[in-house]
């Protein structure tokens, strides 16, 4: 593995009973890159993230994240990464502030530092006015922001974000996407999935497209366009739809109009 790569994935496979969810996936992500991981529903994105973050054991294959092998010391891996999964695993009966303090302390931060970072994150993500409210009473967008704050509180060098902007209001969405950009500028690597292709096109330096468990394309948007012989102004959406063989119907409904 080259030192320039934060994530190196080699033949990662996950089989549930007889169904292969992720099939020999391999790719590399350079340090400090904003890497978009795209695919239709059920393509294997979340399964890949769970394997890369140590929450799911691969059936075969391995990965190295910031020099730590997935099959090796999982705790060392967890010290270096921050994770925002689609399910938003949160303790619903804690307040937002309690939750963030708890996450900071579980990452081993001293209490004054945990307090300082919690305050900063609550302010930054506009959660401060609702700091005492229980998570169960948060809106989906607020839960997402809190889960993101938990992923950031310990200062990870690699961030795995599954649909981080989904359900967040436009103002917070801009704040979060600007923050993520600044993080990559400071050398943090971002592994990012989203269904909103405009956002991916705007933010990501590089993308990989997964379909039915297999990587069907990887590179910068220009590289993928060139590989697939698409015209220079083809959008990421055009590329994506072509690669996943989407059947986009164009006829109207008979009784409407």
């Amino acid at each position: 593995m080259s030192d320039a790569h934060a994530i190196v994935v080699e033949g990662l496979t996950k089989t549930f009973r007889r169904q292969t969810a992720v099939d020999r996936v391999s790719f590399r992500v350079a340090r400090g890159r904003f890497f978009g991981f795209l695919g239709p529903n059920g393509a294997g994105k979340s399964t890949t993230i769970k394997m890369l973050t140590g929450l799911l054991r691969p059936t075969s294959g391995d990965a190295v994240i910031e020099g730590v092998r997935l099959s090796g010391d999982l705790l060392a891996l967890k010290r270096k990464i921050g994770v925002l999964t689609e399910e938003l695993p949160l303790y619903e009966r804690l307040s937002g502030e309690e939750h963030l303090l708890f996450a900071a302390r579980m990452h081993g931060l001293a209490r004054p530092e945990a307090r300082r970072r919690t305050e900063e994150l609550l302010d930054f993500l506009s959660l401060a006015p609702e700091r005492g409210k229980l998570v169960v009473d948060y809106s989906q967008g607020m839960k997402k922001k809190l889960a993101l704050a938990c992923a950031l509180v310990h200062g990870p060098s690699v961030l795995f974000l599954d649909e981080p902007l989904n359900g967040i209001d436009p103002v917070s969405g801009r704040v979060v996407s600007d923050l993520l950009r600044r993080l990559t500028a400071r050398g943090v690597t971002l592994f990012f999935t989203s269904h909103v292709l405009d956002v991916v096109e705007r933010l990501c330096d590089e993308v990989a497209i997964i379909d039915r468990g297999r990587i069907v394309a990887q590179g910068t948007l220009d590289e993928i366009r060139a590989q697939r012989a698409m015209v220079g102004d083809a959008s990421l959406e055009d590329v994506f739809l072509k690669l996943v063989h989407a059947d986009v119907r164009r006829e109207d409904l008979s009784w409407i109009g």
Partner: protein, 533 residues
């Protein structure tokens, strides 16, 4: 009418599919339906015999007794979602049907009609038929009595539906939902304890009160009894009285259906203001305990206190040993022997077994295992949380010991409870890792039951773990009790720290092993709990 038929058919189709689509439900139905049938026929026989006997021996008692039974039946049926956590009759999920242009009264009526073919409702028909036969004596008065009883059953079903809709309204606000849940658990426990109270030494007061209520015919005031009263009058050929009570019952039925419609209307338009679900207090959170273990204990205590189900478990953990004590006290002629207190202390300590180290995590499990904290600290933190949550049980047993046996026994009994809890928690760590409970999927009610339980293997392992805990704790329990056996109570100052220290050492050895097991099996454990394996 088309819509009404479509809605009723939809309910039946959904219920049939829910059964046919699940082997577990199908098996439960195959077991439950014959049992329900036998119970229904037996109830019919008892109802017939008792009513005939009462009508011949003490006819003046028939009316108040039937009114009391009808009231009890109506209340337990209507409040079944609160008392048992399961509604005896379900209601349509009106939220899914409201976008369609169907009038609300049609929706409510369809739900009520669909209920008529539910097994629980069908099972009521034989007892009602037997009752009408007993009251009418085989003459033409029988079918008229059946009309009265049918009206009573319809009112019960309608009330059940109204309660269901009201609970649905309440559950839209988390704070009210929690309160309703806690009240429901409290009512359920109170109802379960009622027979014990009535049969206990102090139960004569309750029995006198029940007899007084019967003598005064107080239950005539409860609408649930009006159908039954109409039936009794029909059986006696008192046409005017029958019409009066049947009319009152019909009016009550119409009123309850009206309440359901109004409630549904207000509920789905958001007109019911239940207030803020939780306050956004500006007070800063205080962190009292240190380190990873402290953070976990604090978190678990906060979560448990705010979760009505867990809070209720804490209280039932107190009630369990106390009920056992009450039973033993009732059964013994003189004062309780100290040996029995020791057994109760061990029983109370064993309650930590089955507490499941990761049960409080629910959907936060993925987050917990994402932290780079060493797994021994996580297990110790979880176990300390469980032991802290069971402190009320320790206090209750100690207080009961103080009252029953005197202050001399309290330190030893408290130490036995504590050391058994520690060792039971250590054993439970293995069960939690090897036979985890699945958690509800994201977006689902985290408290709802999830398919994929621990299974028979786990039950056997629980038995093994119980035996293991008893064996492991035996030397320390002996050490804690030794001064009592020797009659040298001053030795407690020496033996109790030794017993607690020794059991703590065994706990740490066992939990270190469990932590290593957890490190090896962690991804599989997460996948199993999330139902992804």
């Amino acid at each position: 009418m088309d819509r009404l038929i479509a809605l009723v058919a939809l309910r039946w189709r959904l219920e049939a599919r829910a059964v046919s689509g699940s082997r577990g439900r199908m098996a439960a139905l195959l077991v439950a339906v014959p049992a329900l049938g036998v119970f229904s026929l037996a109830s019919a026989f008892v109802a017939f015999s008792l009513t005939r006997f009462a009508e011949r021996a003490q006819p003046e008692l028939t009316l108040p007794a039937l009114s009391a039974l009808a009231t009890l039946f109506g209340l337990t049926w209507a409040l079944s979602p609160l008392l048992a956590g399961v509604s005896a009759t379900e209601t349509h999920d009106l939220g899914k049907l409201l976008p369609y242009p169907v009038p609300l009264p049609t929706l409510v009526a369809s739900s009520l009609l669909a209920n008529l073919l539910q097994p629980m409702v069908l099972a009521q028909l034989p007892p009602l038929a037997a009752l009408s036969l007993a009251l009418g004596g085989g003459s033409a008065r029988g079918p008229v009595a059946l009309v009265g009883l049918g009206l009573g059953l319809a009112l019960v079903l309608a009330a059940g539906q109204a309660v269901g809709i009201a609970l649905h309204a309440v559950s839209r606000n988390r704070r009210w939902h929690d309160r309703a849940l806690l009240v429901g658990i409290g009512l359920g426990v109170a109802f379960s304890l009622l027979p014990i109270l009535l049969l206990s030494r102090g139960g004569s007061g309750f029995r006198r009160l029940a007899l007084l209520l019967l003598e005064r015919d107080v239950f005539a005031l409860v609408p649930f009894s009006w159908g039954a009263r109409a039936a009794v009058h029909a059986g006696r050929g008192e046409a005017l009285a029958f019409l009066g009570w049947a009319g009152a019952s019909t009016l009550a039925l119409a009123a309850v259906v009206g309440v359901s419609v109004a409630l549904a209307q207000r509920l789905y338009r958001g007109e019911l203001d239940l207030g803020e679900a939780s306050g956004g207090g500006a007070a800063r959170t205080r962190m009292r305990l240190h380190g990873v273990v402290g953070a976990l204990v604090e978190k678990d205590l906060r979560v448990a206190w705010r979760d009505p189900r867990t809070k209720a478990l804490v209280f039932t953990g107190v009630i369990g040993p106390l009920i056992l004590l009450l039973f033993l006290w009732q059964g013994s002629a003189g004062p309780l022997r100290p040996g029995l207190l020791l057994a109760i202390a061990s029983f109370s300590g064993l309650g930590a077994l089955g507490s499941n180290a990761f049960a409080l995590e629910r959907q936060g499990l993925g987050l917990l295992f994402g932290f780079p904290a060493d797994r021994l600290s996580i297990l110790v933190g979880k176990n300390l949380g469980v032991i802290a949550l069971r402190l009320p049980a320790l206090v209750a047993v100690s207080l009961a010991t103080l009252v029953i046996a005197g202050p001399g026994f309290v330190p030893a009994i408290a130490a036995v409870v504590l050391l058994t809890q520690m060792l039971a928690a250590a054993a439970d760590n293995y069960l939690s890792i090897l036979f985890p409970f699945p958690v509800a999927a994201a977006g689902r009610d985290p408290g709802a039951s999830v398919s994929g339980t621990r299974g028979l293997g786990a039950a056997a392992m629980t038995l093994v773990a119980t035996m293991g805990t008893l064996v492991a704790s035996a030397p320390f329990v002996f050490l804690a009790w030794l001064p009592e056996l020797l009659g040298e109570r001053w030795l407690f100052t020496l033996t109790l720290p030794l017993a607690l220290g020794g059991s703590a050492a065994v706990y740490f050895m066992a939990t270190s092993g469990a932590a290593r097991l957890l490190e090896r099996r962690e991804p599989e454990l997460v996948a199993r709990m999330a139902g992804e394996d």
